[in-house]
Structure formats: structure tokens, C-alpha cells
Symmetry: C2
Subunit: 318 residues, 2 copies
């Protein structure tokens, strides 16, 4: 932990952290994160044992619920990270602060148990062969947002730097020379915890979940940032991001576009006690311009699979 | 409007837009945007005439309320933009789509009335002389997030490009040569509507609101992105952003750090029928490491001032 953490650096009062408005005791070591706060009680309904205590706090459009899973009674928190990396950076840092910092004295706590975090979300598929409703497990994460560029975390391997360079080149060439911000978009890459990725694949196979392993690209918006142009006066810097992201990286391909994984994966890669994984259902196909119906987009099987993976990860000590 | 807007480009059903879950009729032409959805009903309570219809929709941690102001009955919407530019990009585009696109047929509507939007928020002050509780009116907006880099909107003036270059140089020099992402952070600048800025200054003077005019810098996160370091393992790319942002730009100085104005201002600058302005209270001083008490941070006088400015702007035709 850093020296000189003061009230302005980590706003909190009476052990309650600023944006989430919860204390360290309110958050479990196994965590599911979702974008939409309305999904938090839905997931709680699906996985929590109602005969045991269930905690809930709503604040600033964020929701935290903590309970015990049906059957084995694993303590689990379901937490909103909001829309976009700006919001996700706030929520993840606050969760990690609750685990590793005594909020009252602003002094470090020795972390003795791992923190396992899985983002479950929806995303747009990049390969025309991907059936709507497929859950994509992130093998590599690329951030085209720039929240992660403010974090000087060492790359996990030379491969990660290679992946960043591939995407930087694609985006630099992809913008017309006349574009005001040509050359201004840079990628940051990272890898979710390989043990978590394995656990997610195993759990998906066990539960017969339609799934794919791939590269997930995070973008800093939903409209121009994903090639959704609404107004002629607001043209895009890079044409057809979905078509640009066509490459093979050691047998893995860019599979989906979404808005939060890059920063969750990068920050987690810098802390040994955090194991992060992500699985996002494809609810749109960016190449075919299709959008899933309600029937195709139930996240329940994906959630149950994530809980199985958390069960496995929680048994692997630090 | 662009050709080929389909369901995947603009998700909507029965005239209801995807993330906000409202129809065109539910949103007024005068809009206050805030980050925290809990502020929406508080502002409604303060400014809406309760003898007239009040609309409310909550969805995905976002809230839209529309009513008529006490006294003159101006139709006004109060809308959450969420935390960060990713969320703000979604909300602004959806609001503008409701104004300029027939959502059912996905064809353009001729915009006949201006849309006036004021963001009201909280922010960290950058000048040690700024008293906590001061409302800072944005004269120039700098985005250090990169959501706006995906929008190829022409600069409003050569001055705007000059401002971008000043900040790019500062940030490039501000990162150590060993930093993984040195040179990767780029600024995009824009100016809120000058008539709106004037209206906000006049209304602030009329209401004796403690205020300042300045340059607002938007960052893509709250922790490392604003120099709030919690973990040694997660160092910052650029040291002390608050100390870097010390320059004079034609008599105007960087006054505050926040998380959404850059993209709201840039997108608005590209559409003639949108007039955007922003006023954020300083609730922290990044130079003094102080944080405002509840007493100092009531936004009510700022909200009433913004409503006065919207009253003035709504009388200026397209």
C-alpha cells in the first residue's frame, strides 16, 4: 500500500467507503461483477440461500449484495461496476481497498486470502460465425479506452506487448490522415488469471454452456466507439472497428467488444492476491448487425457457471 | 443523420430507447444532467411544480425525471449520465437520438427547437486558492479520457488545437521514460456554448453563487487517473496530474478535475441545435488534500442557478 493515504485520496467515513457506501465486512472474497445494477438482485435470487443473511446496499446507481450460495454456502458478493471503464475503475479500487487497507486508519492490512472476481456481462460478437447467446470467455484483454494507460503496471509477458503493438498499428492505419485524432488511440493489453480462465472453461463444459475462448476488446463508449454512427455531423475517427479487429494471435481471435474488462483485468494483473476472469454473452453480432431477443439473452446459465468457477478458485490458496 | 441505422446501431423497441428506456415524449428540450441517480429526485423535489405531471423512469442505474419548473412552468428533464465518459457517451447519444431520429422508423426528424443541456456535478479543485464549495463554470473542456478521440468533429477554433497541444506536451513530459504507456495519453479539447457560459455567469451573479470560470479537465477514472494512489504495485504513469495542470491559457486556468464533461462538450460542439454548459462544485481540493463536509456541499444553489440559465437559453431560438 502507498504511504500518505489521506481523506482526499481515499474518501471514507466510519469504515464506509465513498462510492459503494459499504464496509470491509460487507464484501466477500468471491465476487461477481455486473454492469446493470438491476442484475444484482436477479443474480442474488438465483444463487443465494434465502435461509441465510443477505446484505444489500444501493448507492449512486451501484448495488452490492452479499449472501451464501445455495448448497455449499460459499460467501459471495454481487456488485455493480457500472457502464464504462471510468465507473469500473472506481468500483474495483474501492473493493480492493476494503480488502487490503484498514479504511479507518488508512493503513495496510496483510491480505491472507485470495480475492476471486468474475465479470459477467453482455457484449457484441465480432466473428460472423458466433451464434447470439454464446458466452465468450476472455483469454486476452485489449483496452482501447485509456483508463489503464494511467497505470504503470509491468506487462505480464512479452506476448502482451506484442498484442498491444499489433492493435496500435491497426488503429493507426485505420484512421484517415485527415482525422483530427489520428494516431491518438493506443491499446493496453493484459491477461486474466490463467487458472481462472481454465476454471471458467471447465465449468462451461460441465454445464454444457455454449462458449468460446477469445480476445475481448474494451472500448470507451457504445456509439462511435463501437462503429454505431447516428449523426453525419459526428463522424468516426476509425472506420468499422469490428472489421479492423480481424487477426489471429497464436490461435486466438478477437471475439467480442464491451466496455469494462480492460481495466478490471489490468489492475488485477498487478496484484498477486487478485484472480480475475470474465465471461460475456454475445447479445449482438457487430458483423451481421443482429441483436438478440429476450429469449436468447438469459444470463442465468452463465451466472451458474461463474459460481462453479469461483467455487474451484476459492479452493486454490494464495 | 446517418444512413443505415438499424437495430444493432440504435437498439430500441416500440419507441423506447435501449439504455434509458424512455420515449422521445418523455424528455424535455431543457435538460440537467447529473452523475448520481439519487440526485435526480432531489433536484425534482427542489424545482418541479408538484401540481403538474411528473414523469419518472429508472433503468440500469440511470434515472430520467421530467416535469415543469415552479413558477414559469418550463418543461425540464433531469437525467443521470452515470460515472465516467463511457456512460455519459451512451446517455447523451440516446437523448440526442430521441430528439433527432424517429426511433420507430430510424429516420431523421428535422430539429426545430434547440436542446439546452447543463451538467451539474462535483469535482476536485486544482488551485489551492479555490474555497471548497465554489462552483466552477467550464469555459474550456479538456478530455484526458479518450472517448472523444473516436469522434472526428472539427475543432471549434485554432485556439482549441493550441490547448490540445499544450496538454499533450505536458503529459508527454510528465511521464518517466521507463513508463510502459509514456506518450499514450492525448488530450481532446472543446468549448461549451459561449452563450450558455454567459448565461451561467449571469445567473451565478444574480444568485450570489460563489463561482469561478475556468478550464475543466476530464479524466477516465478516480484513483490513479486523478493521482489517488492506493497500492505500491499499481504505480501511476503521470505523477501528480494536479501539479502538471498549471498553466495560463489566455487568462483562464485549469480549475477542476472531473469525469464526464469532455465528451458531453465535444459531442455537443458538433451539433448546431445543442447548447451545452457545465457547472461543477469543488468538493475536494487536490492541492491541499481537503475534502468538503456535507454542509459545504449542498448543490441546491447551483441547481437553481442552472435552471435560471436554462430559462434564458430556452428563449434564444435556433
Amino acid at each position: 500500500m502507498c504511504a500518505n493515504i489521506n481523506e482526499a485520496t481515499l474518501p471514507a467515513k466510519n469504515g464506509v467507503i465513498y462510492h459503494l457506501q459499504v464496509t470491509a465486512n460487507d464484501v466477500a472474497n468471491n465476487i461477481i461483477m455486473v454492469g446493470d445494477p438491476e442484475r444484482v438482485p436477479k443474480i442474488a435470487e438465483l444463487v443465494f440461500d434465502k435461509s441465510k443473511d443477505i446484505f444489500r446496499k444501493d448507492h449512486r446507481g451501484l448495488c452490492v449484495m452479499t449472501g451464501y450460495t445455495i448448497g455449499d454456502g460459499m460467501r459471495l458478493s454481487v456488485i455493480t461496476h457500472g457502464m464504462g471503464t471510468g465507473s469500473a475503475e472506481i468500483v474495483l479500487n474501492e473493493v480492493l481497498a476494503l480488502k487490503a487497507i484498514d479504511i479507518n486508519s488508512r493503513t495496510p492490512i496483510e491480505v491472507k486470502e485470495p480475492v476471486n472476481i468474475i465479470r459477467i456481462g453482455t457484449s457484441g460478437a465480432l466473428q460472423s460465425s458466433t451464434k447470439l447467446g454464446t458466452t465468450i470467455i476472455t483469454k486476452y484483454s485489449i483496452g482501447l479506452d485509456n483508463t489503464g494507460l494511467f497505470y504503470d503496471i509491468p506487462p505480464q509477458s512479452p506476448q502482451i506487448v506484442k498484442l498491444e503493438n499489433i492493435v496500435d498499428d491497426l488503429f493507426n492505419k485505420g484512421a484517415a490522415n485527415t482525422c483530427r485524432y489520428k494516431g491518438g488511440i493506443h491499446a493496453y493489453a493484459s491477461q486474466p488469471d490463467p487458472r481462472m480462465v481454465d476454471a471458467l472453461v471447465r465449468a462451461s463444459e460441465k454445464n454444457k454452456l455454449l462458449h468460446k475462448l477469445g480476445i475481448t476488446t474494451t472500448v470507451p463508449g457504445f456509439f462511435n466507439c463501437q462503429g454505431r454512427l447516428l449523426f453525419e455531423e459526428l463522424p468516426e475517427t476509425v472506420e468499422s472497428i469490428d472489421k479492423l479487429l480481424c487477426f489471429d494471435f497464436d490461435g486466438v481471435q478477437p471475439e467480442n467488444l464491451e466496455m469494462e474488462i480492460s481495466i478490471l483485468s489490468l489492475i488485477s494483473s498487478g496484484l498477486k492476491w487478485v484472480r480475475f476472469g470474465a465471461m460475456c454473452m454475445a447479445i449482438a453480432n457487430r458483423r451481421l448487425n443482429t441483436f438478440a431477443s429476450d429469449v436468447e439473452s438469459s444470463l442465468d446459465p452463465t451466472v451458474l457457471t461463474a459460481v462453479d468457477a469461483l467455487r474451484e478458485m476459492s479452493k486454490i490458496p494464495l
